[in-house]
Symmetry: C2
Subunit: 145 residues, 2 copies
């Protein structure tokens, strides 16, 4: 059989952005099982919610997400301006989150595990001002929407 060539960089970025979107789909859809499944099981993980102390235990991270997703008063969430920055077998996604009326800046870090990009870090914190307007003639190559 012919060996397949390595994936093109743009495909890697698309796969990372798809993993990032799956995270926000689980978040917006209040899907605890999907949220649990997308976090890495093969190594260390960390999560820093806005205003919280860091969590670095997977069980604590999933318990916190379960509480957030099951809270009927939790606001809507939407990701914007996502950019994938690939570092080999790990990749960062830098994006904004709209959570209720708040604007947050966010890092999501993923690691390639058995062919799938699994989340190893989520950190979000408040932003004091709207992001600068995009130059429409030179859009960034990768956005969630």
């Amino acid at each position: 059989m012919a060996r397949r060539p390595p994936p093109l960089p743009a495909f890697v970025e698309d796969a990372v952005l798809a993993a990032n979107q799956a995270f926000y789909d689980a978040f917006a859809g209040r899907d605890v099982a999907a949220m649990e499944a997308l976090w890495s099981r093969e190594g260390p993980v960390a999560c820093i919610h806005p205003g919280w102390n860091p969590l670095i235990d997977r069980d604590e991270i999933i318990a916190a997400w379960t509480a957030i997703l099951r809270n009927p008063d939790a606001p809507e969430v939407r990701a914007e301006n996502a950019v994938a920055l690939v570092l080999g077998d790990t990749a960062m996604v830098i994006c904004h989150e709209r959570v209720g009326g708040a604007l947050l800046a966010c890092t999501n870090l993923f690691r390639l595990e058995q062919g799938a990009w699994r989340m190893v870090l989520h950190q979000a914190g408040p932003v004091g001002e709207e992001p600068p307007a995009r130059d429409e003639e030179a859009p960034p190559p990768h956005r969630v929407h």
Copy 2:
């Protein structure tokens, strides 16, 4: 010559924590040249200061650090509770920062480049409450101090 065995995991974590400490030494020492040198040059980088929009251009990141470090009114900074989480050729450090009277939670991500751990991400955001007291009988394995 005998081949050297791979480094023990604890040595890797120590090297990552040393890179993290070098970042805070440059920050506290207002050392622009050291700050510039420790950021990765071989791939993408990102920086999210508290309240800021994300920066993903190396020149913009260094310009922002230069402005911060040269500001005579900038408060003192100190890192606490640093934990290294190694993901292969990248590694996260999760820690707190004391900046003036503020408590921040922080992720610093490093990548191994030609034998040196170079910074690829810094994100810090405010924490609403003091971290839980450590269990003195089961301290975490790695702290900055």
